[in-house]
Amino acid sequence: MMLRADGRKFKSMNRRELLKLTPIVALGAFAIPKLQAPLLKAGLGFSDWVSAGIFRRGHLAPTFSDAELTPFDKFPINDYDVDDPGVDLDRWTLTISGAVQKAGDYKLAQIQSLPKITQNTRHVCVEGWDVVGNFSGARLSDFLRLIGADTSARFITVKCADDYYESLDMATALHPQTLLCYEMYGRTLTGQHGAPLRLTIPTKIGYKQAKWLTEMNVTNVLQQVGYWEDQGYSEFYGL
């Protein structure tokens, strides 16, 4: 049995159905200049929130055989400013502050006295490329224990000799593959790769893995997130 309707009724029915699509117009908010930035910030923030949620502390990043390594001379030199800020290695210390029991200046030898970890892991750049490198260093988690860090604090922040700065969530800082790296490819870190100390974090995007570290702070509040994050890149960017 088929229902019947006259032409006018059919038209008004169609109009009503069309009006039901008006929620789609809400997407137009993305085209309004004033709303666009906050909306995209919220979208990126949501992505970061999900990223932090799916991060698994015990899940290891893939590791690779020596045959799969990118040759050392093909490992890209990336920085935001200078290729080598020329750190005075003899006078270098890592200055620790914040929620720690033993704040102060730490020498490289103190970091090198911690168990040495060597790993072949992938370094992924936000641009879309990646390389596999050989990195050696101390676990950041071991160093945090050494300095008596409050690991219930939310963030680790670092400052660098080239005025670069970065921050790291505590869960990632405690990940077993997160290293304070002082050797690449079995050789002392070169000036271009962050001598004398850099971060290697196979669970994070490249820009989180700061080079030429000079200061580290354990904190619950971030004044600034990181050089690239503060330009509009993802704040968490876990892989």
């Binding site: 088929m2 229902l3 019947r4 309707a5 006259d6 032409g7 006018r8 059919f10 029915m13 169609n14 109009r15 159905e17 069309l18 039901k20 699509l21 929620p23 789609i24 997407l27 993305f30 909306l39 995209l40 910030k41 919220a42 979208g43 990126l44 949501f46 992505s47 990223s51 799916i54 991060f55 698994r56 899940h59 990043a61 893939p62 990118t70 093909k74 890209p76 992938r122 992924v124 750049c125 936000v126 641009e127 879309g128 490329w129 990646d130 390389v131 596999v132 196979p202 669970t203 690239w228 330009q231 509009g232 890149y233 993802s234 876990g238 892989l239």
Partner: protein, 231 residues
């Protein structure tokens, strides 16, 4: 299908015509929101691609394509990532809602391409591309349409899965394996985008060929004078 068909009586001419309620509101909403999301994702994706217009590792590598900035969204890499990482949620949400609706309503039966539809594909291709006779219309979607729509959904799912691997190669390392690894995920993601665009092109050609009533049905749900028999 054609659960809601009506007969329209034109007051002026007294002519009788038929209409069927073809696309429920939820499908129409998903269709159009997803259209916007796909547009943004393609545009911002191409801007992201511009940052490293190649595939594989960064061994000094040649740029494959110089995609023009004017045909991309976001202006710079960080901006494009904001668009991409925002609209991917809208894209996935409409996909999930659409699939859930199709599944629970049983509507998928009229559009899902099954092996029994295979023999009907060639006659439709012959009709569209080689001026063959038009096969009799028996159902809302002909075998070629079912093939196209089912493929589009499969491509949509694959675009999400390959995207997840690019976004989270560590957390979804298990998903990278069947794709041939991290590098292939990016290549597949790129190829799937072009496949989806090819679908969109074909879809738009068909929309133009099939006229106004067909187009309106995706806006109001009602299709006037359906070609297939209504109950």
């Amino acid at each position: 299908m054609a659960s809601r068909a009506i007969e329209i009586n034109d007051a002026k001419t007294g002519e009788l015509s038929q209409a069927v309620y073809e696309h429920p509101l939820i499908v129409r909403l998903c269709h159009w929101i997803n259209t916007v999301a796909l547009f943004v994702l393609v545009g911002s994706g191409l801007q992201i691609f511009r940052a490293f217009p190649s595939f594989g590792a960064k061994i000094p590598q040649e740029d494959l394509i110089h995609w023009p900035k004017a045909l991309a969204i976001g202006g710079w890499l960080g901006g494009a990532l904001q668009w991409h990482l925002t609209f991917m949620w809208i894209y996935m949400a409409t996909g999930v809602v659409y699939l859930a609706y199709q599944l629970f309503s049983g509507n998928y039966k009229q559009v899902l391409f099954l092996p029994r539809d295979i023999p009907g594909v060639w006659p439709m291709v012959r009709h569209y591309f080689f001026f063959g006779a038009k096969p009799p219309v028996k159902q809302a979607y002909n075998p070629l349409q079912k093939h196209a729509y089912t493929s589009a959904i499969v491509l949509g799912v694959l675009s999400v899965l390959t995207g997840l691997v690019i976004w989270k190669p560590v957390q979804f390392s298990w998903l990278a394996c069947p794709m041939g690894g991290f590098h292939y995920a990016r290549l597949w993601h790129f190829i799937i985008m072009w496949a989806l665009l090819a679908f969109v092109f074909g879809h738009l050609v068909m929309v133009v060929l099939h006229g106004w009533n067909n187009f309106v049905s995706m806006l109001t749900g009602w299709k006037k004078d359906p070609e297939y028999p209504s109950e």
